[in-house]
Symmetry: none
Subunit: 414 residues, 2 copies
């Protein structure tokens, strides 16, 4: 089964409100094996709403509509649905009683305008709204089961759980389940190249990639009659993908490079400290985003000024003077001194030019040195991130590169 | 003029990603006097994308399309637009050169798959993408000017500003301009009470509030025939609002508490250092988000373990033992020792329980002590943020409270 979502309101089309109902409903539908292929947001105007309902009802098995059920003149969903169905609106007495009681319970008198909220297209059914005045509406139109719900998220969610989801569970089709693999260190096109055959559109599971700030995510979506079958298909693809991509796959679902690193440090009972210049605390922040990180993240230095690099870490000021604060040698010294001062198994140090100012021809914005000190050896990696990046991107990518450097040496020294 | 937006990607229709591009673009269009009446999000499938483009181009003067310009087989926007226009795709050599140089600058070799990103429908124009590989596309179809932009928000926004907005400014209708004031330290309802009369729907400018993680934003939107008139109306309201709210207004537009603090520190030629426990580097990170922060942010300590508090800052371990690491006394000592060790005018220190674990009846999750040391005095503020917050919220609110404490003492000691 496939679904389309329609969300109604000028605040959505005007951009003042971000439509979070549609993503939430799409995920709810997916968990029922109903695939959502289209969301439409429309302004508060009768004809466009009617047309969208007609169009969606021809193309989908399920149409979920949110918003436009209020008492004001610009709430047009009821009327638009009735017009789309070619039927009049009729007063639904139980709903009217519910609305009157809703106000009575709150010691308020019902405004006449609220009466229109009890109007339902002839032949449609009302859906109870425990949290508000407007009932929802369920109806059949063309090939689709159509459900209208309020736009207020908590009213909508409650109505979905109680009044809509149960209707769909019975009629729902095959189960759809997904898993997401997270990778770092390979371009989206290279990932696509390595697993291109798995990304054929006609396969089940389907495999797709998406990129966000150097994290390439691989989504595996399997469709089957029951959960075990879905999981079996997903496991097979996940195993194959991990085999082809190796350790660029750092985790699944919501895992970050920091949680992956944390898991490895706990497994190995090892500890980490940080010395940061251009990232100014971002790496320590990422490490300590993880609950329980106090078990391995012992301390960090933000040595933003050259003076601090010498005073806090004991990096020789002559070294900084001769090689520069942004140099392989300074990064190396920062990491080694940080590890010594902290008594940790590993120490990460970064120094670079985050920009937008401070770049020179030989040391441009985006030049960063990342150092990782461990027992007996220190690795230094030079990054040239490009001078077209924003400051926050340079810092974000530097933090990711540093955490990934640690992750890889944790994996490889196990 | 009216506009329609099309956003493309399974991650959108599947609900894994919330489409924030469309609301942002709708507001940008509004500022040009172009009214957006419809957003459509579509899965990565050729025919539905093509149909949506055809339909939107018949109904609107402007069609903005985001997403589907990547290098992988499921990036179909180029092909869908070409099909909708009834023309073939042609290689756009300057774009290919841009892509090749993009990889060269990063010392990487271009993957063959990226070549397809340089394909443009015959008769359409490429729009430069300074931040990525995929060029945008501008074309005419039916009554509409059609623009394709990347789905990656920062690439899209940069392309909009440089390559799309200028195209539309010429043709735009009545002018709508806005200004946003940012406040911290007052509830949305209290702000609403103080400026309620300015928030009447029938006014021009309109004034509205929105809340996000304790930052209350006040949006002033004025409509007039020319920019000067808009600005004059906005200035008047902004001045009145600042008069009524006083120093809870910390800035405008994209200003953060960290940029506000930075401005004040530079004006006063003063310096800051940080000692962080529960925020684990977040405050230093926020301070150094600001370009030029090296002028006032000298150094920071992440003393995540008790040992580090004593070793790095010289907080007496007896004090920690008797009062606890999360205590007024420890926060105070951390701040004073940090200021001494750093030789800065101010030092911020925080210690608290970020959760989700680690809370006790007398010291629950969300209990945080924020200390600010300056010449001759140290202020300590106790926060009880509530144990219903997520870890990241506790850390975020702690950082904001700390930066605001510094901001207010900078203002008040001037």
């Amino acid at each position: 089964m496939i679904a389309q979502l329609i969300s109604i309101g000028n605040e959505l089309t005007g951009g003042q409100t971000v439509d979070t109902n549609s993503p939430w409903l799409a995920q709810q539908l997916a968990s029922l094996g109903v695939r959502c292929v289209r969301h439409v947001s429309i302004a508060d105007e009768l004809e466009p709403i009617r047309d969208a309902i007609v169009e969606a009802s021809r193309a989908a098995d399920v149409v979920l509509i949110t918003g436009g059920l209020g008492p004001t003149p610009d709430d047009l969903t009821r009327e638009a649905l009735a017009t789309a169905m070619g039927v009049p609106l009729r007063l639904h007495t139980p709903s009217l009683i519910h609305i009157e009681e809703y106000f009575k319970r709150r010691g308020r008198t019902m405004h006449p305008a609220n009466r229109q909220q009890a109007m339902i297209p002839e032949g449609a059914n009302a859906i109870e709204n425990p949290h508000g005045t407007a009932p929802g509406i369920s109806a059949r139109l063309s090939r689709a089961a159509v459900f209208c719900m309020p736009g207020v998220p908590y009213e909508m969610k409650e109505m979905w759980q109680r009044g809509v989801r149960p209707e769909l569970e019975t009629g729902a089709g095959r189960l759809v389940q997904e898993r997401i693999l997270r990778t770092f260190g390979m371009s989206e096109s290279e990932v696509g190249e390595r697993i291109g055959d798995l990304m054929r559109r006609d396969r089940n599971p389907t495999v797709g990639t998406s990129a966000a700030e150097l994290i390439i995510s691989i989504r595996i979506v399997a469709e089957a009659d029951h959960a075990e079958a879905c999981q079996g298909m997903i496991d097979a693809d996940a195993t194959e993908i991990r085999k082809r991509l190796g350790d660029v796959v750092y985790g699944e679902a919501d895992e970050t490079l920091a949680t992956a690193v944390g898991r490895l440090l706990i497994e190995r009972r090892q500890t980490i400290s940080t010395a940061e210049s251009c990232t100014g605390g971002l790496i320590a922040k990422r490490l300590t985003d993880v609950s329980g990180s106090s078990g391995y993240m012992l301390q960090g230095f933000v040595t933003y000024s050259n003076e601090a690099k010498s005073r806090l870490l004991g990096v020789p000021s002559e070294l900084i003077a001769t090689q520069g604060a942004v140099s392989r040698e300074t990064a190396e010294a920062m990491a080694e001194q940080c590890r010594r001062a902290s008594g940790t198994d590993y120490a990460i140090a970064v120094t670079g030019i985050a920009g937008p100012t401070g770049g020179t021809p030989e040391k441009p914005v985006g030049l960063v040195f990342v150092a990782l000190a461990s027992a007996g050896k220190t690795i230094v990696k030079e990054l040239r991130l490009g001078d077209n990046l924003r400051r926050e991107q340079v810092r974000d990518r530097t933090a990711k590169a540093a955490l990934n450097l640690l992750r890889l040496s944790l994996i490889r020294t196990c």
